[in-house]
């Protein structure tokens, strides 16, 4: 039994957001179809309310800390003072990227730059696109990320003002990664932003997209992001999400990926920051022959909570999904992995593998792992596995017996726990950055230096 107060908190918070919408609807603006969309979304949100722990998909995450905080729309934040130098920690060393920066949900042209791009590639601000070419967006926005059953997507759809728009025409290869950098910065006022992103890959195109969500301690911010991705026939997408928000921030991110036939997607989600985060990835195979690698690392420590939700929908036959999630939990942190794979009736020759492994570094850390497979086809290869464990004392002793001190031995083994995921990152500077981020979260881990 959850205490009644949580329900009351959820209702209060819902009313606050609904009232906020009514008073800011004009300002939110947009073309008519967007205004209609917003109204539908807020109506849906009003009937859904915020999920409580009675909802199966939210069973292990108590939203009360998020709902109690009086977040104000990001537009009320004072000028942020974010200058280019402050972005340096969030970039990827020598990696040359197309960088598109958003501060508190709004496009920041002075911090953004594009490299020379193939003809027809469009990378920029959703708000600008809504002004200049609303028609081009109408057939995509909210067509993939449904708000029917998801309160956070509904809120995002009602309130979004800006975000990234990425369009790669067919037969086009973009070599240099596209880095979408979302910064939350508000020292004095808890603010909420709802970035909305649309990534469209035409047939037989190829791109690498990084979404970084970052902030600075001790800012209290709430990011409620939604990213819709369409990967056209035979297109190839490498996607990285790096969540490095302030450890007092709240991060809710939903990515939906539509894969057409023979497309290939590799998606990595890395959660490091925020006090409470929910990282949700939903993918669907619309055409046959698609492949998906869906990887995740989450590393909460102290009192952080990282909730991961994934959903892979095999609608079309002969598609392959391989999912690998690793959690490393320290302190009194909490983690959730909720993985759902659906293999529909016609999805014969599906291959679906799901693995979630969790490493608890302290006795107070806790993780809930719920792997799930629902199979309606009969000619498939599917499996799932989930483990929760501690560092192996025998392995620690083995390393120590060779002269490596105990702390280093534990760090090496902790790193090794996620190495198979990190090693799948094909872009070396991104891999090196991830190594650094992972090691920096271990006691004196930075001293381990080079890649293991």
């Amino acid at each position: 039994m959850r205490p009644v107060t949580d329900v009351a908190v959820a209702v209060d918070a819902k009313q606050t957001y609904v009232a906020e919408f009514a008073s800011s609807e004009k300002e939110l603006g947009g073309p008519k179809w967007v205004r209609t969309l917003r109204q539908n979304a807020i109506a849906r949100f009003e009937s859904l309310g915020f999920p409580t722990q009675k909802h199966e998909e939210w069973k292990y995450t108590n939203l009360a800390p998020l709902l109690r905080a009086p977040f104000k729309p990001a537009i009320l934040a004072r000028p942020d003072g974010v200058v280019a130098e402050k972005l340096q920690p969030f970039t990827f060393g020598v990696l040359k990227t197309n960088q598109v920066v958003f501060v508190n949900g709004r496009y920041a042209p002075r911090l953004s730059y594009l490299r020379s791009l193939p003809e027809g590639v469009r990378i920029g601000s959703m708000a600008e696109m809504l002004r200049s070419e609303p028609r081009a967006l109408e057939k995509h926005v909210a067509r993939y990320a449904s708000f029917e059953a998801d309160s956070f997507v509904a809120l995002n759809t009602a309130f979004f003002q800006d975000g990234a728009f990425v369009e790669i025409p067919k037969n086009t290869v973009v070599d240099e990664p596209i880095h979408l950098l979302f910064l939350s910065a508000s020292r004095d006022l808890p603010i909420v932003a709802h970035p909305r992103n649309l990534i469209l890959l035409g047939a037989n195109s190829h791109a690498t997209v990084i979404e970084t969500y970052a902030g600075w301690a001790p800012d209290v911010t709430f990011t409620n992001a939604a990213t819709e991705v369409v990967v056209g026939p035979a297109a190839v997408l490498e996607h990285y999400k790096v969540q490095r928000e302030s450890e007092r921030a709240f991060h809710f991110g939903t990515m939906t990926v539509d894969q057409e036939r023979d497309s290939s997607v590799t998606a990595h989600s890395m959660s490091f920051g925020s006090s409470l985060s929910r990282n949700s990835v939903s993918t669907i195979f619309r055409g046959q022959g698609g492949s998906l690698t869906l990887n995740g690392i989450f590393m909460p420590r102290e009192t952080q909570q990282h909730d991961n939700y994934t959903r892979i929908d095999h609608v079309a036959p002969s598609c392959t999904s391989v999912e690998l999630y690793r959690g490393i939990l320290d302190g009194r942190s909490r983690g959730v992995f909720n993985g759902n794979i659906y293999v529909r009736k016609d999805a014969q020759k599906t291959v679906a593998r799901q693995t979630n492994k969790n490493l608890l570094l302290s006795k107070e850390a806790f993780v809930d792992s719920t792997p799930g497979l629902e199979i309606l086809a009969d000619d498939v290869k599917c499996n799932h596995a989930s483990t929760i464990g501690q560092l192996d004392d025998n392995a620690v002793f083995y390393l120590r017996s060779r002269g490596i001190d105990e702390e280093a031995a534990r760090n090496i083994l902790t790193y090794a726990f996620v190495a198979d995921v990190v090693n799948q990152v094909r872009v070396a500077p991104i891999r090196i950055k991830l190594d650094q981020l992972i090691l920096s979260r271990l006691p004196k881990g930075a001293g381990l230096g080079e890649t293991l």
Binding site: L399, G403, A416
Partner: protein, 256 residues
């Protein structure tokens, strides 16, 4: 080099070693033989510093220093090396990284600089050749998916790279085919030197055909019941442990 006196050890509350006395000088190779459950592995593990083994009495001094008071890593840095009977598999840590980390930890302890990357490669290649290990092995996860023989070779390979002063080899011969046994034995023999001592723990005589010990001790029920030269090992091979077991509990009844 190593002086063990009256060593008593409990494992999970049960006394396994019941008063071991052992003195090993530089340059010597000692073999410890004994039936299953006699305490051979316990002795090896205690010397390496496994905490689950509780020392309830006695001392072990290494070059005059109290070995039992040292952390496992400090024992290694002082020059003690144990080749594990069951080396651990650690996916995600390459053999190369692991070995370099170990070597540098030891060098640092001794006030030396970290090894130069090129020197490390050369060192590793030389030693790997000695044990018939191919180059891809350095990039693989530590013992990951290794066969029993490869794991044992890797132990001796690590020993060769780290160049300890005192080596404990715990059942290094078990599970080896004859070719692997020869390679491993060659690796061990290549390390024999007037400055280095070894304690070879084994159930069988096989390894001792290649690595001929200076002294053989027979361990029965937590005590060394007989010591002798290499011939003792051959006798044990021929006649089994039976005659020693009969002999052991009482002071020397006449043999039939």
């Amino acid at each position: 080099m190593l002086e063990i006196k009256g060593l008593h050890v409990k494992v999970a509350g049960k006394e396994i070693l019941k008063g071991i006395d052992l003195s090993i000088q530089p340059g010597e190779v000692h073999a410890i033989m004994g039936p299953n459950g006699s305490g051979k592995t316990t002795l090896a593990q205690v010397l390496a510093g496994r905490v689950t083994y509780e020392v309830t009495g006695g001392t072990a001094r290494f070059e005059g220093k109290d070995l039992l008071a040292m952390k496992p890593e400090d024992r290694a840095r002082e020059g003690v090396f144990m080749a594990f009977q069951y080396p651990v598999e650690i996916p995600g840590v390459s053999n190369a990284y692991f070995l370099k980390a170990a070597l540098n930890a030891i060098r640092k302890y001794r006030g030396q600089d970290e090894i130069d990357a090129m020197d490390f490669v050369t060192l590793v290649q030389d030693k790997a050749k000695l044990l018939g290990l191919d180059e891809t092995f350095m990039k693989r996860g530590l013992n990951e998916g290794f066969s029993g023989g490869e794991k044992k070779k890797n132990e001796v390979f690590q020993m060769a790279v780290l160049e300890p002063k005192f080596c404990v080899l715990d059942e290094t011969d078990s599970g080896l085919d004859i070719d692997a046994l020869r390679l491993v034995a060659n690796g061990i023999n290549a390390m024999r030197s007037p400055k280095r001592a070894m304690l070879v723990v084994t159930h069988y005589q096989r390894l001792l055909d290649y690595v001929v010990p200076d002294v053989v001790h027979v361990l029965v029920d937590g005590k060394i019941v007989k010591s002798g030269d290499a011939d003792l090992a051959r006798n044990l091979e021929k006649h089994g442990y039976g005659w020693i077991l009969e002999e052991a509990p009482r002071p020397a009844p006449a043999r039939p």
